[in-house]
Symmetry: C2
Subunit: 174 residues, 2 copies
C-alpha cells in the first residue's frame, strides 16, 4: 500500500466538553515532485468551519448555516480530523464527529474524506481512530446511521446493521 502507518505522538490538553486534544501521524509519502507529505489524525476542536463546509461541499452535501455548524462542533463529544501537511501547508482532508452522553453511547455523524484522497484507506483509518478514542472513554455502544452505499464500508470496520432487529428510525412531521 502507498500509505503506511508510522509512530503515534501526543500534544495533550484537556477540554471540559469532550475528549482531550491530541494528534497522530498516520502516513507519510513522497509526492511525484519529491516533496514529503504527511497525514495526521487529530482530535483538535479548533476546526475552521469554512474549511469543513468546503470539504462537505466536495462530496456533494447540502450547505448548512455556519452558526449551527459552530454550535454542533462545540457540543460534539469527539471531533476527529485528517490533515495533509506539505511543508508549511496544512489542509483538512477528512472529518468525523460523535455526539455522546459521555457514558454509555456515542453516535457518529458527518464522516467524510476528500474525493481527491478517497480509496486509499484514509476513511478506515479515520474511523478506527474514532472507535479507539471512544473505547478509551469507556463508551461501549458506538452507533451510526449509514447511507446505503457505505454500509459495506462500515461493516468492514465491525459495524452491524439492525443487530437483533433493532431499527434506526428518523422522525418527520406526520
Amino acid at each position: 500500500m502507498f500509505w503506511k502507518s508510522l509512530f503515534p505522538g501526543a500534544i495533550g490538553s484537556e477540554t471540559p466538553t469532550g475528549i482531550g486534544e491530541h494528534e497522530l501521524l498516520i502516513t507519510e509519502f513522497v509526492a511525484a515532485n519529491g516533496e514529503r507529505i504527511h497525514v495526521y489524525f487529530s482530535t483538535t476542536r479548533d476546526i475552521d468551519v469554512y474549511a469543513l463546509e468546503a470539504l462537505c461541499d466536495a462530496v456533494g452535501w447540502a450547505k448548512r448555516p455556519l452558526r449551527k455548524v459552530r454550535k454542533a462542533l462545540e457540543f460534539s463529544f469527539l471531533i476527529g480530523s485528517l490533515w495533509q501537511e506539505r511543508g508549511q501547508n496544512r489542509r483538512l482532508i477528512g472529518f468525523a464527529r460523535a455526539t455522546s452522553d459521555h457514558a454509555f453511547n456515542a453516535t457518529l455523524w458527518d464522516v467524510v474524506v476528500h474525493p481527491e484522497v478517497q480509496g486509499k484507506g484514509l476513511g478506515k483509518t479515520l474511523m478506527r481512530q474514532m472507535i479507539r478514542e471512544l473505547r478509551r472513554e469507556e463508551i461501549s455502544n458506538i452507533t451510526l446511521f449509514a447511507d446505503p452505499q457505505v454500509v459495506t464500508f462500515y461493516e468492514e470496520l465491525g459495524f452491524h446493521p439492525d443487530p437483533e432487529g433493532i431499527k434506526g428510525m428518523f422522525w418527520y412531521p406526520s
Copy 2:
C-alpha cells in the same frame, strides 16, 4: 379516554448543558378511592438515579453502574420524565433522554413507561413532548434505535425506519 390533557405551566430556569427545566400537567384522574391523581411531564435534570434504575429494572433492563448513569444524565441534552402525584407523594413513572449536538441532530435513548401504567397513552405523550422540546431548540434530525417490538409504537408517532435506505448500525469488536 381515561386520561385527558390539561393546561401547561412553566417553572423556568436555564442550564448550560441542555434545555431549561419546566413542567407540564399531562392528565388528571380520580382513583377508585376518590383520591385525585395528577401526571406531569418534566424536563428536570434532577433525577434520582435509584428511582430511574428501579423504573428500568421494572421493564427488565440490565442493571447499570450508577456512576455512569449519573454521567449520562449530566451530558444528555434533554431529559424528559413523567411523574405521578397523589397528595404529597411524587413517583417517577416514565423517562426518556436525548443526546444531541445542540444544532442538527438528537438521538433518543432509554424510553420507558412503568408497566403498571403502560398502554394508557403515556408513552406517546412522553414522546410527543420530547419531540416538541427538540423542535423548539431547532433540532431538525430526530433519531432513535428501536427494538423490533416497538417499531410500530414509534411509527405511529411519525418515526420512519430506514428512510431512503439509511441503516442504523452498531459497532462490536471484530
